[in-house]
């Protein structure tokens, strides 16, 4: 009995974006990374094409992490004391992108200054040839001050500035406009909030191919289904032709999984949770791969073993 394969041809397509710039394009990256561009649900190659695989970014901090799981500190070793070395190690661990997360304070609890942020960004750009993303500490005033400085320091490198939220998007978008960068716009898990922020950012004149949307997510076991469904809805809207949702999506499964007890700690947990090392990697890996199935174009990870696992899965899914 001939069965007609139920193909879905979508009218819409996600914008393809380029992160990073090589010398020829006014930057210093050894290569650029393209994200997005798909006109199908993830890996449904009978329906359409996915010109770029989902990309893996490794998160590094500008100082030794204060509250990270000992498993993460063990995995990275001494490089966590030096963001430049850490960036290089992240590249060696197989990252497509390096995400530099700035902290509010430096050693001795002095506030991170704009000069600090410039120096660290410069050091990271020199240490790795990968395109980078730089996220501020997440407090409006500090983000504005530090990210403007970072944007100037990295002018021409086509980095991604984050986190751009409704309360501070103006300053960060202006910095991106002035220096040729992209922004990562984050909203609480909600389709309309995401769309609205994209509109606000685009209204300032930043082209759509320089906006990434970050719909926020949650960990396996801790509300991931909300993020998962919001992402599925955003992607379906994009494929159906809603222009202001046709942006690549970035999510942070590393951050979400590693703040949960399942990944973070090995003691004082039920025996039924099993082996800690395996569980921790599994928690981050499943959080990431499940979100990729919901449409994530960039997943930000923390553990090198997870990076290997997630990349292996992506490679298998992309093999046609």
């Amino acid at each position: 009995m001939p069965v007609e394969i139920p193909v879905e041809k979508w009218p819409g397509r996600v914008v393809e974006e380029t992160i990073g710039a090589t010398a020829a394009e006014g930057g210093t990256r050894s290569r650029v990374v393209k994200v997005g561009g798909e006109n199908t649900l993830p890996f449904m190659f009978t329906d359409g094409e996915m010109p770029n695989p989902p990309r893996v970014a490794i998160e590094i901090l500008d100082r030794r992490p204060k509250d990270w799981s000992p498993l993460l500190l063990e995995a990275w070793g001494d490089v966590v004391d030096d963001p430049a070395k850490w960036a290089k190690a992240a590249e060696e661990a197989g990252a497509d992108l390096v995400l530099l997360q700035l902290s509010l304070t430096r050693d001795g609890d002095k506030p991170t200054t704009a000069a600090d942020a410039r120096a660290i960004t410069r050091a990271v750009l020199q240490a790795t040839g990968l395109p980078i993303l730089v996220f501020g500490p997440g407090q409006v005033d500090a983000d504005n001050e530090l990210l403007v400085a970072v944007a100037e320091e990295a002018a021409g490198e086509r980095i991604v500035l984050g986190i751009c939220e409704e309360k501070n998007y103006r300053t960060i978008v202006a910095a991106a406009l002035a220096n040729g960068h992209l922004v990562n716009g984050r909203t609480a898990m909600d389709v309309n909030l995401a769309k609205q922020l994209n509109i606000l950012i685009a209204d300032m004149g930043l082209p759509l191919d320089r906006i990434i949307m970050d719909p926020t997510t949650a960990s396996l076991g801790y509300g991931i289904e909300y993020g998962y469904s919001v992402m599925e809805r955003l992607r379906l809207a994009a494929l159906q032709g809603d222009r202001m949702t046709q942006l690549p999506m970035l999510v942070t499964p590393g951050f979400e999984a590693w703040r949960q007890k399942e990944a973070k700690v090995g003691e004082g947990v039920p025996a039924s949770w099993g082996d800690w090392r395996q569980r921790a990697v599994l928690w981050e890996t499943l959080t990431a791969t499940n979100l990729i199935l919901a449409g994530a174009d960039i997943v930000v990870l923390r553990h090198p073993e997870t990076v290997k696992r997630v990349k292996a899965y992506i490679d298998r899914m992309m093999a046609k």
Partner: protein, 449 residues
Amino acid sequence: MALTGLQIYKLLPQTNCKECGFPTCLAFAMKLAAKQAELSACPYVSEEAKAQLDAASAPPIRLVSVQGPGHKVEVGNETVIFRHEKTFYHPPGLFLRVKDSWPLEQVRGAAKEAMDYAVTYVGMNLHLDGVAVEADSGSPETFAAAVRAVREVTDRPLILMASDPAVLKAGLSAADGVRPLLYAATAENWQAMAEVAKAANAPLVVRADSLDALADLTEKVKGAGIQDIVLDPGVRDPAGTLTTLTHLRRLALKKNFRPLGYPIITFPGEGASDTIEEAQLAAEHIAKYAGFIVLDRFAPEMAYALLAWRVNIYTNPQEPIKVQPGIYEINNPGPDSPVMITTNFSITYFSVANEVDGSGMPGWLLVADAEGMSVLTAWAAGKFDAEKIAKTVKSTGIEEKINHRKLIIPGAVAVLMGEVEEELPGWQILVGPREAVDLPGYLKLWKSF
């Protein structure tokens, strides 16, 4: 495809005899269409009309169940492709495979370990659903012995796997009290397999390597009298599985294509080289349309992650899992014990309650009615603001149970501190940690605040 009331009316006797309890056949037809009446209430409906109505009212994906004395698994009868469109109803059964070529002790041991496993997650007791026993020995006696060994350690459902119908039959005879899933009918053996399944009144997997061949085979097996069919489209790699299972779900729901309107069985272990990779594939199958998932590896952390993921994906998106707002007493708190407040999203509540409980320190946990949202989401949506916090403190009567006036609010809503102080005169508002996992350390220092 569901029929309209008028379409149903045309199939009824149209005599308005009222014996069904409705004044006219048309009124009865309308009730049938709305699924508020049963066709069996009509004594005069013709067999032909009955068959047509049954076929039309059948769900696009057949509900198939397997059962042991201690547990039942029902899969299928799904109505949407994406969970946000309504919800996913019947979580896939998770089975562990053992093989009859193993020593019996190993068969028993592996089955027992997996079936004894249980984990508590947001107040729910979760476990795997059963054991798949595969006859790779080729011997009826060996297979029967393996099935018996598994039955000794579990009363959950089984999947019996054999390519030789005689071997399968031997396994069935050892599976007393179980309605197993039988695996599998193929183009070569389907007649004999259908006979075995029919005699045992058990659902049967149909396996073929293309959808065309699969549809042919399900029709043949159905023609042989088997209604409860499960599909194995033969794909094992993750990309092919995602594509094929998505096509099957679309065919059933969007095209109402009956020959493939059945639940699907998958074998993630056959496409994986270790536990984590198998878990990645199984997780994909949970999200994307499997009805039975047969695992080849078991580890507690893998089972926990997959069981939690299954709950997550099958949670009704229209109804967040909530706990009752109010006062929760943890470790027998007294008048001088700390008072904390959080929201009534069950994952939030259990994260906080488990930490306080695990710390061994007594505490009063106030749970605000935040419509089942987590702290940050509720705060963003205006469901967990200073006013709501103050209202919860006052309405629960916590003030009469304690001799202090200190309230710990979640670190994630530290910005609310000033407003809560204004709303609750006389109270000292303390900002707790952002994450529940840091509560035990925080509570140790509480007396000094």
